[in-house]
């Protein structure tokens, strides 16, 4: 035996699972496909600015994500508010830019009324979701038989109201409402408290950033697992037999008593299992597609937008950049704007040459902060759709029919195999908090399993 437990994937979920198992006295081996840990979190230095970093992956921690705050605090990592500059946010809707402060974008009263009534209906439905077993939600088949888009078409009175929710959906799910089961949209929002929480900065999911970058969390976890992580080991096959499990990478084989698969279900489905996994589990992995994200950072000598009273937080109903945030360091230095390309725009722009994509992103930013956006001193981007070991961000979503027909297979162990990853979380599914709870849950499963 190379270990008591092998963990496949050194993202936050896998690292937390390994950490908890080691604390419980287990011998653990983590196998990671990439040459780095962190999975969908990744902090990179900004060229030309010593000590300045950007988060090219998951970066925020927000209200209610107690597990992330606790884990950060354990490693002495410090957070600071996303909203520092104090300027106005911007909404560019129907070609018209309006500044606002507080939580409610400045839109015409009828649109705001429509958004309000639709959000209230959505929240009432979301409150009915069984987070542990979404397929047991009252009227689950009814909710799971339609897309979120269908519900929006039916529920919103105005085209503007619908478009507000479409933009919010792209920002939260990195895919269009057409792709989402209504039950999944409700589950996901309830899992993260509410849709309003998910789209909010202060008091919401985008409340705080981590000094030095969120990538530090995985680095610290990995440091405490020193010697137990093998990088550059993409797992190709997992064989369960009477004595345990053999995990084979491109170059080596490892034996253990149990395995925690801590990669997204769609990628887990690409591993070769012996014996083949049950049909229900395989069908699940066929029904968990990922959203699409290219995360771009434009770096300027200073946060010039602040002099104009702007926060660089912006949203628009047209692309290519529909959502932007200030990503500058909290303590002076360069000004950095974070620009998201999400959903279909990320696929379309991802296929363009780099220079064209950069041009399109910067031009899009001029709508938010003016023409100076065109002249960054540095520009970074990360296309998560093109990353072989992620293949789309922020995470998976379930299309209609999946939760009610094969949802139970999402986190059910199969023999000596256990499944972690934020997609398997009940609370904060899709977020770093969900990754942590899933790792803890999988570790607990292993520790309490019959030998």
């Amino acid at each position: 035996m190379d270990a008591d437990v092998i963990v496949v994937g050194a993202g936050v979920a896998g690292l937390v699972a390994a950490d908890r198992l080691v604390s419980a006295g287990q011998r653990v081996l983590v196998l990671e496909a990439r040459d780095r840990v962190g999975g969908r979190t990744l902090t990179m230095p900004v060229p030309g600015f010593d000590g300045v970093v950007v988060d090219q992956g998951g970066q925020w921690v927000g209200a209610g994500q107690e597990l992330v705050y606790a884990e950060l605090s354990r490693f002495g990592l410090v957070t600071f508010p996303q909203s520092t500059g104090g300027g106005s946010a911007l909404v560019v809707f129907r070609g018209k830019a309006r500044r606002y402060t507080g939580r409610v974008p400045k839109l015409d009263p009828i649109t705001l009324l429509d958004i309000g009534q639709a959000q209230a209906r959505f929240d009432r439905l979301a409150a009915t979701v069984d987070l542990a077993q979404p397929w047991r939600t009252p009227r689950a088949e009814w909710l799971d038989g339609q897309t979120f888009e269908t519900w929006l078409r039916k529920t919103c009175w105005t085209a503007r109201g619908r478009d507000f929710f479409r933009t919010a959906t792209e920002a939260v799910f990195a895919t269009l409402p057409a792709n989402l089961s209504l039950l999944h949209a409700l589950f996901y929002a309830a899992s993260g408290t509410s849709l309003e929480t998910l789209i909010s900065t202060d008091g919401g999911a985008q409340q705080d950033r981590v000094l030095g970058g969120m990538g530090r969390l995985a680095e610290r976890l990995a440091a405490s697992l020193s010697g137990r992580i093998e990088l550059n080991q993409p797992v190709r096959s997992i064989d369960q037999h009477d004595d345990g499990v053999t995990v084979t990478t491109e170059t080596r084989s490892f034996n253990a008593g149990r395995v925690i698969v801590a990669v997204p279900p769609a990628l887990a489905g690409r591993v070769v299992y012996t014996p083949a996994l049950p049909a229900e589990r395989d069908q699940l992995t066929q029904r968990t597609p990922h959203g699409g994200i290219i995360k771009c950072h434009a770096v300027y000598a200073e946060p010039f937008w602040r002099a104009d009273g702007l926060s660089a937080e912006a949203a628009s109903d047209t692309g290519p950049v529909k959502v932007a945030f200030d990503a500058s360091p909290p303590d002076g230095g360069p000004g950095i704007i974070l620009a998201f390309l999400d959903g279909p725009e990320s696929l379309r722009l991802g296929a363009l040459p780099e220079a064209e994509r950069r041009e399109a992103v910067l031009r899009s930013l001029t709508r938010f902060v003016g023409p100076r956006a065109m002249e960054p001193v540095a520009y970074l981007e990360r296309d998560w759709n093109a990353e072989e070991w992620t293949r789309g961000c922020y995470g998976a979503h379930l299309p209609p029919g999946a939760w009610t027909q094969v949802g139970a297979a999402l986190r059910a162990p199969v023999g000596r195999l256990h499944f972690a990853g934020t997609e398997t979380a009940e609370r904060w599914c899709g977020y770093i908090d969900g990754a942590i709870s899933s790792g803890v849950r999988a570790a607990t499963e292993v520790l309490t399993a019959a030998p």
Copy 2:
């Protein structure tokens, strides 16, 4: 170079592609994961009855499937009508069994009126679909943003009408209308002429069977490719480089100038590609889940139902068996009933012990042909969901959003890679005819590609 072209998968699509390439003078190698050819077609002998066979996979050829008739005829294979006994079909709806002959099940007039109006609306929409580029269909986003289930809820006036279409959908797609994009349902029906064609026997997709079994088609194709097929070679990785392509199986590597991947998109997505395939193609393979089928055959000493004036063709709105057909040999001998477990029922019953499943299937058949169904002399079944190299039948379906966002990647070549398989067909997508046309199309792509 081991070949000019490597074909991955010895189903009908791959074999036809190889056949056309060989005819054009190319050196071809076909790599097949299984120990047999045929893919989703498979003919098996019935134990205890010399020369009697059943088709455990695709079996029918019907009106408009000229490519299948031509291919069968080329190898001297003969067809005979599905409807031989002349008895009445049965519909068991709302617990009540009714006999009927002809194409229209005997239901109450209001339900028939409702089915008629919904079918007319469906046909009018289906006529608008662009089969070559479904994403260019007028109002494509509108159609692709909703499930077929949503459309049924809105369009049918009666619960009975909706349930008729749900049963028909399960029979045709092996999944629930909740899982299907409306655009996909329309495309699929138009691709196979019409929904009525797809559910019909005489004049429809279930019109004729093949003497000796449909499996003979692949066997004959394989015989003509003698020496060019390697069995037991599951392809694990495909590397494109400047000089060509290297295809690596569990045990060997092969080099060729081009590769035709002739397996369903979801399985193609499980191969490791170098360089990694474009994001759009990868996202497509995350959005093409398979339906679910267990195909069961109950064998009796004689087709006893014929004495009761029954054809053994039956449909029901309740399961586990919702659709059955006479599968007896055309020239006397035993009586055989083909029973489908499809969609969620196939997953549910697939997880049961074999004896329990058999009991449930036979008990279900008693509703169609009486208590003698419980006493077969032989019983065969094939769970296509559990087959590692198929993972669900009859084929893939596209959930909402997929056609309009990533549909163009379904058959677009990537460098030296080409894609075949019935899922890529414009006409008879999901049927053997579509497999043949896709093989011809892929072979033509290779032959006309720049060297």
